[in-house]
C-alpha cells in the first residue's frame, strides 16, 4: 500500500516535470500541425476557401511539373549542400581538435563560427555582392588574368549553394568537433599497436566513431537547408524555385492556404524520410 502510494507520488512528480514541455508541444506543434493537415485537404476556389475534404492539392502537386520541380530542386540543392558541408567541415573540425593546441582551440572555434554573428539576410546580400560580375571574386580573377570574362556565379544555383555551404560548414564543424574531442586517444593507440597506419586508423576507427557527430550535423543541415526560403530567394535569382519559395507564393500571392498547407506537409514528409535514414546515428550515445 505504502509502495503504491510512493509510486503514485513519483509518477505524479514525473508528470509534473513533463507536463510543461508536453503542453507546449501540444499547443504549438501538434494542434497547429493537425490544423495544417486538415487545411491541406480543403481547396481554394476562386477567391474563397472551400472546406470540402479532398486530395486535389496533393494531386495537383504530383501532376503540375512546376510544383514537383520545387521539391526536386530542394532535394538536389540540399543534398549537394549537405555533402559539400561535411567534406569541408570534417577537416576543419579535425584540425581544430587535433592540431590546434588546447589553449587555442576555443579561439579557433570562435573564429570558425564568427560569421554566425552576422545577420542571415545581410550575409546573403553580402555574398550576392561578392559573387556578382563586379564583385571581389570576378575582379580578382580578371585582375590576375585568369579569366577574360566575368564568371556567372551570382543569381543562380551555384550562388545558393555557396551561401548555404558557408553557413552550414560552421554548424557541422561544431557537431563534428564535439564528437572528435570525446574520442579517447586509446582507440588510436590500440589501432597503432595492431599495425594500422594513419589512414587505416582514420578510416576504420576514427571515422566510424565520429559518424554520430557527422550524421547529427548532416541531419540538421538537411532540415535547415530544405526549409530555407531566404538564401535561394536572395542568391538564386529566382531562376528556379525551391519548395519553400513555392509555399510562400501560395501564401503571399494567391492566399491559397490549403495548397501551402499541402506543400508544407510534403516538405515535412521529406524531412521525416531524412530522419528515418539517419535515425540509427541520431541516438544520444557516447562514442
Amino acid at each position: 500500500m505504502t509502495t503504491a502510494t510512493l509510486e503514485d507520488r513519483e509518477r505524479r512528480r514525473a508528470w509534473g516535470f513533463v507536463a510543461p514541455a508536453l503542453l507546449w508541444t501540444l499547443a504549438f506543434f501538434v494542434v497547429p500541425f493537425l490544423y495544417m493537415a486538415a487545411m491541406s485537404l480543403w481547396l481554394r476556389q476562386g477567391r474563397d476557401i472551400v472546406r470540402v475534404w479532398n486530395l486535389d492539392n496533393y494531386a495537383r502537386f504530383f501532376t503540375e511539373s512546376a510544383l514537383l520541380k520545387g521539391l526536386t530542386n530542394s532535394l538536389e540543392i540540399t543534398l549537394t549542400v549537405t555533402a559539400l558541408s561535411v567534406l569541408l567541415a570534417y577537416p576543419l573540425a579535425w584540425i581544430i581538435a587535433e592540431r590546434v593546441p588546447k589553449r587555442w582551440q576555443r579561439m579557433a572555434l570562435i573564429l570558425a563560427i564568427l560569421p554566425f554573428w552576422t545577420s542571415y539576410v545581410v550575409r546573403s546580400y553580402s555574398w550576392l555582392l561578392v559573387l556578382s560580375k563586379g564583385g571581389v571574386i570576378n575582379q580578382a580573377l580578371l585582375g590576375i588574368g585568369l579569366i577574360s570574362e566575368p564568371l556567372e556565379i551570382a543569381s543562380n544555383r551555384t550562388a545558393t549553394v555557396i551561401g548555404f555551404v558557408h553557413f552550414f560548414v560552421m554548424l557541422l564543424t561544431l557537431t563534428i568537433y564535439s564528437n572528435l574531442i570525446q574520442l579517447s586517444p586509446n582507440y588510436r593507440r590500440a589501432a597503432a599497436d595492431l599495425g594500422a597506419n594513419g589512414f587505416q586508423t582514420f578510416w576504420h576507427v576514427v571515422l566510424p566513431l565520429t559518424l554520430p557527430g557527422i550524421m547529427t550535423g548532416a541531419f540538421l543541415t538537411f532540415v535547415l537547408c530544405i526549409g530555407d526560403y531566404i538564401t535561394p530567394q536572395i542568391l538564386g535569382g529566382n531562376n528556379e524555385l525551391v519548395l519553400p519559395q513555392i509555399i510562400m507564393l501560395q501564401i503571399g500571392r494567391r492566399a491559397d492556404f490549403p495548397m501551402a498547407a499541402a506543400l508544407s506537409i510534403i516538405l515535412m514528409l521529406a524531412v521525416t524520410a531524412a530522419y528515418l535514414l539517419c535515425a540509427r546515428w541520431l541516438k544520444i550515445e557516447r562514442a
Binding site: 512546376a66 560580375k133 543562380n156 530567394q233 535569382g237 529566382n238 507564393l249 503571399g252 500571392r253
Partner: protein
C-alpha cells in the same frame, strides 16, 4: 550570504530595469496620444514622409509593409475588423477589397480630386455606386529601365527586345506577374484591359522566350541592385520607380516607354470600414494627398513615382522633376495602359504561367 547579496543586486537590477521600462512605456504613451495602423507599400515607411504627420497630429503611425495585392488580401483575411485604419492598394484592385466589405466610404468633398491629373482620378476603380472608397495617390510605369552606356537606347524603343536574343543573359525580369504579363500583352499588340484566357498561350510562349533571354527574375530590391551593380543591363518591368532615386549616383541608368506603350501602375489609399479612428484615418489620407505629402511620397526612399496631385510640382526640386520626367507625363499617360484586371480564374492561370516560366 553571497547568494543573498547577489539576490539583492539582482532584485535591484530588476527593479531598476522595470522602472526604466515603465518610464519608457509612459514616455511612449505621453509622446503619442493615439496610434494609427496602416497597411502600406514600402514607400510609406520613409520617416521623411510619416514623421511630419505624426508630429503635427501627436500620433504614432504603425506601418505594416506588404508587396502585391495577394499578400495584402492575405493579411486582411488573417486580421480582425478594426485591426487596420488605412490601406494602400493597387488602384486596379480596389474593387476586390470593396467586395470583401473592408473599405469605408470617404466624403468626396474632403478629397482634393480636382487637383489630381485627370487620368489618375480613376473613378471606375476608386468608386462604386457613386461612393468614393479610395483615391489614387501615386503612379508610374512598368516599362524598360536600362544602362544607356551598355545598350543601344534605340533598341529599347521596341518591346520585342525583351524576348529577342540580342541582349541574352543581360536582362532581369521584375518578379510581378501582373505588369509583366501586361507588358507582353502590349508587345503582342493587344490591350491590357482585353486580356483573356485566349491570349494566354501566346503570352506563355513569349514568357518562355523572355526567361531564356534573361539572367534573373528579381524583386524590387534585387532588380534595382542588379541594374545598379551592372549585373544586368536591362530591367524589364522597371521604370522611374527603379532609376529615379539613383539618378544622382548612376546617371548611366535610364528608362523609356517603347512605341507599343507600357503598363501604368497606380496605387490608391483608402480608409478601412471598421477603423476605430475614421477621422484620424481620413486626416492621414488628406495629408498624403496634400501637395507637401505628395512630394514626399513621390521621392520616398524605397521608390520614387509620380504624385497624382499636380500641385506637388511646386514642392519638388527641378532635378527631382527631371528624374520623374514631369514634363513628359502627357505623352506617357497617352501611351500607357493600366494593369490587367483578371477574374479569379484568369488570375490563377496568369500566376501558373509565371511560376512555370520561373521553373523553366
Amino acid at each position: 550570504m553571497t547568494r543573498s547579496i547577489a539576490g539583492a543586486s539582482a532584485r535591484r537590477l530588476f527593479s531598476t530595469a522595470a522602472t526604466l521600462a515603465s518610464v519608457a512605456f509612459l514616455a511612449g504613451q505621453v509622446s503619442a496620444a493615439e496610434e494609427l495602423n496602416a497597411l502600406v507599400w514600402c514607400d510609406h515607411t520613409d520617416p521623411a514622409l510619416i514623421e511630419p504627420f505624426e508630429k503635427a497630429n501627436d500620433v504614432k503611425v504603425n506601418l505594416k509593409e506588404y508587396e502585391g495585392t495577394g499578400a495584402g488580401i492575405s493579411i486582411l483575411e488573417q486580421s480582425r475588423p478594426g485591426d487596420w485604419d488605412v490601406m494602400v492598394i493597387d488602384a486596379v484592385d480596389v474593387h476586390r477589397v470593396i467586395d470583401m466589405g473592408r473599405l469605408g466610404e470617404m466624403p468626396a468633398d474632403a478629397l482634393p480630386s480636382a487637383d489630381l491629373f485627370p487620368e489618375l482620378r480613376m473613378e471606375a476603380n476608386n468608386t462604386r455606386d457613386g461612393k468614393t472608397y479610395a483615391v489614387t495617390e501615386k503612379f508610374g510605369y512598368n516599362t524598360i529601365s536600362y544602362d544607356k552606356t551598355k545598350v543601344d537606347p534605340k533598341d529599347m524603343e521596341d518591346l520585342s527586345v525583351i524576348w529577342s536574343d540580342k541582349y541574352k543573359g543581360r536582362i532581369a525580369l521584375y518578379d510581378y506577374y501582373l505588369p509583366m504579363i501586361g507588358l507582353v500583352q502590349l508587345g503582342l499588340g493587344n490591350k491590357t484591359a482585353e486580356l483573356s484566357e485566349a491570349d494566354m498561350p501566346a503570352i506563355e510562349e513569349k514568357l518562355s522566350a523572355m526567361k531564356a533571354a534573361s539572367k534573373q527574375v528579381a524583386d524590387v530590391v534585387s532588380s534595382q541592385t542588379a541594374l545598379a551593380t551592372g549585373e544586368v543591363d536591362i530591367l524589364v518591368g522597371g521604370g522611374e520607380w527603379i532609376t529615379a532615386s539613383l539618378a544622382k549616383d548612376k546617371p548611366n541608368l535610364d528608362w523609356t516607354v517603347p512605341k507599343q506603350g507600357a503598363v501604368r501602375w497606380a496605387q490608391s489609399i483608402a480608409v478601412m470600414k471598421d477603423s476605430t479612428k475614421p477621422d484620424l484615418a481620413l486626416k492621414f489620407v488628406q495629408y498624403i494627398l496634400s501637395p507637401e505629402g505628395q512630394a514626399r511620397l513621390a521621392t520616398s526612399s524605397c521608390y520614387w513615382g509620380m504624385p497624382t496631385n499636380q500641385k506637388a510640382g511646386e514642392h519638388l526640386a527641378p532635378e527631382q522633376k527631371q528624374a520623374l520626367r514631369w514634363d513628359d507625363q502627357p505623352g506617357y499617360l497617352q501611351n500607357t495602359q493600366l494593369y490587367p484586371v483578371p477574374s479569379a480564374e484568369l488570375d490563377q492561370k496568369m500566376q501558373d504561367a509565371w511560376t512555370n516560366m520561373m521553373q523553366q
